[in-house]
Amino acid sequence: MRGTLLESLTHGSLTEPAPAPDESALAELATKVNRAAQARLGRSLAIREVDAGSCNGCELEIHALSNAFYDIERFGLRFVASPRHADVLLVTGPVTKNMRQALERTYNATPDPKWVVAVGGCAIDGGIFGGSYACVGGVSEIVPVDLHIKGCPPSPTDLLKGLLALLEHVSVKR
């Protein structure tokens, strides 16, 4: 174990430079996020992930944000275990009817001010699962969405660009 630890210390860092915040995400946020709410938060956001019926592809890439290459916590972004501790809900999936109530309750359990980020093609409009008897089709059908991050699934870099845009938007207006 010592060898592995020492090597981690002596070898260069794997963590990559931050990507620029996504421009289209900044534009979307500018029109949606309440300025009064922005002033309440510092440059730090607690994120609660909610799988509302995804195929689990998005979850894999959200997980990757915590690995050494992306190291999401260096930006003040961290995943929390309860919506009651969260500023941001990161929602994936076409919102299955079986998850609708759980998503509503999770949203209601999140204290204000809060933001909702819909992740992946399904979360935008149901994607490939749209039109099914079992899907609502899009997160914004159930809760207000501040930001959409596209992709099937979005890459960790795409996710980071979107989340950095959110962070920038929140902190600039402080």
Partner: protein, 504 residues
């Protein structure tokens, strides 16, 4: 001796490849259940359609496979689950989707249907009604017992599902799972879809097994149409399948250790997983390699810089992974958590036909790559690791050994990969009637079964996708019994069953 030798049957009318399908009466259906109860056959799949139910069965010794069909002329079929418990959730699903009633069933609670769809029996093709009742968990009675309800929204970044624990102090007396939260209606969306759309849906049945599902779906379609795929395409498919296995096993090994509070391993395997996904992206243009395997072959060739990227990846794994194995093996505090925790009994693994690391860590020596030897695995050499202990530790070791095998397989594939076509053109239509095909592929968590019926215009009439998790989730309920609640995440992660894959 073939599976049908002891079962009275009439061969089905439609062509069914590569294994036979036959129609049985109640006597034949019960005989098939007898064979499974005796342990001579293993239930491989159980699915419905509007007026019939089908069971796929495996002879574990000869690796023969066959499908029996029971025509539900009066909307009922003889219950399988009342005699053979591994069929239970599949049987409840058949009832939920098609409204067919298993006669003499002990348990007819809904499984996927949470009364939220707005219509009962959505695939039955008829308007029906169903009594809405609060979901009843099975009772657990005794002094000092209390219940802990977890989910559907969990604490980690994982899929939604409900776990109902009954505990005595810290010890779990009973765990009952209630899933279905991610039910998207995939099999309904499949109906009437063309092969391209259907393949995209198959890719997204369980995102972590996108390649395995695409591979199984493509092989089922090719079996139905009786077409052969060019050798280069089969090698590229296996290359992607092994990369997918590597990425998932790295993720799992780290996540299991992380749930025992050993973050160092998680950080290290996280690096290997990311490198694997990046190599996959360089080679096939998508980190999870979605939509590359298509019926007929592969949609695109490996990129020119893909091969050096993969060779670099293999070299990195060979350098780093042995040290991580040593780290796992020599950390007593970690072993203290994984050894003898969450034991799956060998008899259950056999009875349920548990695939993947869950089965192989409990002595069930089955791997579809070897048993079916589908192309190109018939011309590759690899070993299938099997252990007997059945605990979390054994499931970690199976993954470790499989990582080594996948690395060797990728090296063989890169060496053997010759030039050639990427795709066999599909016919525009097949004229006349429908055709049926079936395939089994080995995903990282176990065998995936796809059964498919295509109409004359190559549209999907019915497709059933069966994840390995169907036969693993129930064993997690047995594995946690007598363990402490705090060890549940560890046990659960060592299974890493799919929610989306079984909720469909």
């Amino acid at each position: 001796m073939g599976i049908f030798d002891s079962i009275p049957h009439v061969p089905a009318e439609l062509p069914h490849r590569p294994w036979p399908r036959a129609v049985v009466t109640e006597a034949g259906w019960q005989t098939a259940i007898d064979r499974m109860v005796e342990g001579r056959l293993t239930l491989l799949g159980f699915w419905g359609e509007r007026t019939a139910v089908h069971m796929a069965m495996l002879d574990g010794v000869s690796t023969d496979i066959a499908v029996v069909t029971y025509e539900c002329t009066d909307g009922t079929f003889p219950s399988v689950a009342s005699r053979h418990p591994p069929a239970l959730r599949l049987e409840r699903t058949i009832h939920d989707l098609f409204g067919l009633v298993p006669a003499a069933a002990d348990d007819l609670r809904p499984w996927l249907d949470h009364y939220a769809w707005g219509k009962p029996y959505p695939l039955s093709g008829r308007i029906a009604s169903r009594d809405v009742r609060p979901y009843q968990f099975l009772p657990a009675e005794g002094e000092g017992l209390h219940q802990v309800a977890v989910g559907p929204v969990h604490a980690g970044i994982i899929e939604p599902g409900h776990f109902r624990f009954t505990a005595n102090g810290e010890h779990v007396v009973r765990l009952e799972q209630w899933l279905g939260y991610t039910h998207k209606g995939i099999e309904s969306l499949m109906q009437g879809a063309n092969l391209e759309t259907a393949a995209r849906l198959a890719n997204r049945t369980s995102g972590d097994s996108a390649v395995a599902y695409a591979f199984a779906f493509a092989r089922a379609a090719e079996a139905a149409l009786d077409i052969k795929v060019p050798p280069r395409a089969t090698y590229l498919r296996a290359l992607m399948a092994e990369l997918e296995r590597l990425a998932n096993h790295f993720g799992d090994i780290g996540a299991i250790c992380n749930d025992a509070s050993f973050a160092l391993m998680h950080a290290q395997t996280g690096i290997l997983r990311e490198r694997t996904l990046r190599a996959a992206d360089a080679a096939f243009g998508h980190r999870l390699m979605m939509d590359v395997v298509v019926p007929g072959g592969v949609a695109r060739d490996i990129a020119p810089d893909g091969i050096p990227a993969l060779r670099t990846l293999l070299a990195e794994i060979k350098k780093v992974f042995p040290r991580l194995i040593e780290l796992y093996d020599n950390t007593a505090s970690l072993q203290d958590r994984t050894v003898t925790t969450g034991i799956v009994k060998a008899e259950y693994a056999r009875q349920f036909g548990a695939g993947g690391y869950v089965g192989r860590a409990s002595g069930r020596d089955f791997d579809a790559r070897r048993a079916i030897a589908y192309m190109p695995y018939d011309s590759l050499s690899f070993e299938v690791p099997v252990l007997q202990a059945g605990d979390v530790n054994a499931r970690v070791w199976i993954r470790i050994r499989e990582v080594e095998q996948s690395v060797a397989l990728i090296a063989q594939i890169l060496d053997q990969l010759g030039p050639g076509a990427l795709e066999t053109a599909l016919p525009a239509g097949i004229g006349g009637g429908a055709c049926e095909g079936m395939a089994l592929t080995e995903a990282f968590r176990g065998d995936v079964l796809v059964w498919l019926r295509l109409d004359g215009d190559l549209r999907v009439e019915r497709c059933h996708l069966r994840d390995a998790s169907w036969f693993q989730w129930p064993l997690l309920e047995t594995a946690i019994e007598g363990n402490i609640i705090a060890d549940f995440p560890l046990c659960n992660k060592s299974f890493n069953c799919s929610y989306s894959g079984v909720d469909l």
